[in-house]
Amino acid sequence: MNKTDVNKGSDDYSVRSVVMEMKNITLRFGGVVAIKEISFDILEGEIRAIIGPNGAGKSSMLNVISGFYSPQEGEIWFRGEKRPWLKPYQVARQGIARTFQNIALFEGMSVLDNVMTGRLTHMNSNIFSQALWKGQSEREEVENRDHAERVIDFLEIQHIRKTPVSRLPYGLKKRVELARALVSEPSLLLLDEPMAGMNVEEKEDMSRFILDVNDEFGTTIALIEHDMGVVMDLSDRVVVMDYGRKIGDGAPDEVRNNQDVIDAYLGVSHD
């Protein structure tokens, strides 16, 4: 896996290049406005968090980025180009991988096969080569297995590689899902509540893995999380959403002291 942390290490965010920029995104379902005129950017190599109370539109935002929902208004710029309307699988081919809030693993397959599905965007052999298991398809199978095994090592799930996913406990499933996203060598990794439903120990493990991924591979990460403590420790910059609007944006410390954010989380007296 190639290290691409050229821009990483500089604390000056103006030096880093922009991976993705959301401009005035508005998303409606019928009459319900899920996201209202939100703009923010994601910089190369950073961990960007999106936080907010339940129903704030965080998951919808992630679904817009991965092409699952198409917003009615606004533009998405990816690597300096305006992104046309893409289907989810085309977004994935651009190098954007993600995990899901409610684990979305392929339950009928082994851990290894699940991780290998993350390499599908890198496998192009034709059907005849696959039917005979000769030539390009066999080569690809071995090369991509190599990638898969490295991620499996990295996330410490070697011992369960041939286990059917359906037999795994929750925490491990989350890790397998991360492996599947990571193995595609994404330039942008989206994590939808990676620590939801975990105990303290599992959360610590997961935080470590997220930081390691960011450090070692230089992967840009955008994550949604409820646990404020985790978010503040992990992320470089934070977007705060409430009722589909953006109410704060900046470094964790700035956001923590923002009055709107405090109101949204602690409530505000209406008099």
């Binding site: 991965s66 092409g67 699952f68 289907k87 989810p88 699988y89 977004v91 994935a92 081919r93 991988a97 993600r98 899901f100 979305a104 693993l105 392929f106 339950e107 009928g108 397959m109 096969d113 290998m116 599905t117 993350g118 599908l120 965007t121 496998m123 052999s125 059907i127 696959q130 039917a131 005979l132 298991w133 398809s137 066999e138 690809e140 199978e141 071995v142 297995r145 190599d146 599947r180 996203a181 595609s184």
Partner: protein
């Protein structure tokens, strides 16, 4: 103590990827191949081939095809009979239009034609899911059978409305028509079944197979990690139909010799093949063979016991067969939804650890 993987270390991913990673399995597989190809052809007689071996092998191919679609890609189809008819009628048209071309090539092209038709009827799968799709495939079943019954071009305007396979040879040995030797019928079916199984196994353990299974297990997640659902589903429909078409062509040209769409490829065919993969095991190539074997042998045994030995009327035996098949389906779905293949797998797991299960 023979059945072990301990000590049998794999040193490359190629070795780890092989179909039978355990040495004992591998040797048994070679032994079965040797018996089927080298010994059985000299032993078989007319009854054995016609009652059991030929239908078993031909249904196995159809079951492999349906298993790719239903077991691996998760799209239930009740149109198998219709697609078998496409294979049969394509083969017939090709045989009569180009008598000089080898029958083997005709059968393969018939599979290709069925693949195209299958992909066309697979198009709705992009919008319709689950049993809505299952019902939609009934459209293929009823429409195709109607087409072959009503448009006389398909049966070359013959008065009976039937199609009859003319004699064709492979290496001067007749494999279709009235003069087929039992061993020749067996061999051509065996070769097609063997090649189909190997191809299906290769496809399902590689990139395409993972694409299908991803769609089966969670289509939305599959799309978000980069699977093009259009390509995944249509390829499953096409490749599945390819095998089903080949089995239909063999069923007509080699096994039956004469066929009529409604009688030979009615909706009952669709059900039987579906039952084969349920009983054998969804998502297993071995299961396709196991299910086909069980459902081909069962009526033969029932007939032997009921009609020939006990002397009961054949109608009664047929009704008992319905009850048993229905019960088997329910029993397997209740006790072991993954079918015979899973029972086999469990037995092997046990054997691997035997005699020290803890």
């Amino acid at each position: 103590m023979l059945y072990r993987e301990a000590g049998d270390f794999k040193t490359s991913y190629i070795e780890d990827n092989q179909t039978f990673p355990i040495a004992f399995d591998r040797y048994r597989y070679y032994a079965i191949l040797a018996i089927s190809f080298l010994i059985l052809p000299f032993l078989v007689n007319d009854y054995f081939v016609n009652a059991i071996l030929a239908p078993f092998l031909i249904y196995s191919i159809a079951a492999i095809g349906l298993n790719i679609l239903t077991g691996y890609c998760g799209q239930v189809s009740l149109g198998t009979g219709g697609f078998m008819a496409v294979g049969a009628y394509s083969c017939y048209k090709l045989m009569t239009a180009f008598p000089d071309v080898s029958i083997v090539i005709h059968i393969i092209i018939a599979g290709g034609i069925t693949a195209v038709i299958g992909a066309v009827f697979g198009l709705p799968s992009l919008r319709i899911k689950g049993f809505y799709l299952a019902v939609a495939t009934l459209a293929a079943q009823f429409f195709l059978v109607w087409l072959f019954n009503r448009v006389s071009w398909f049966y070359n305007y013959s008065a009976s409305g039937q199609i009859n396979a003319p004699e064709r040879t492979v290496f001067t040995i007749p494999v279709t028509g009235p003069n087929v030797e039992p061993w020749a019928m067996y061999m051509i079916c065996l070769i097609f079944a063997f090649v189909s199984a190997v191809i299906a196994r290769n496809l399902t353990r590689g990139a395409l197979g993972r694409t299908w299974m991803a769609i089966r297990d969670m289509d939305i997640a599959a799309e978000i990690i980069g699977v093009n659902p259009l390509k995944a589903k249509l390829s499953a429909f096409a490749i599945s139909s390819f095998f089903v078409g080949i089995s239909g062509a063999l069923f007509f040209a080699v096994y039956l010799g004469a066929a009529e769409a409604g009688d030979s490829f009615g909706i009952q065919k669709s059900f039987i093949v579906l039952f084969m993969i349920i009983i054998g095991g969804l998502g297993s190539i071995f299961g396709s063979f196991a299910g086909a074997a069980l459902l081909v042998v069962l009526p033969v045994i029932l007939k032997l016991i009921g009609a020939d030995f006990l002397g009961w009327p054949t109608g009664l035996v047929a009704h008992i067969q319905l009850v048993i098949v229905g019960l088997l389906i329910i029993l397997f779905l209740v006790l072991e939804p993954h079918g015979l293949a899973q029972l086999w797998r469990i037995a092997k797991e046990k054997l691997r650890l035997w005699p020290f299960p803890h």
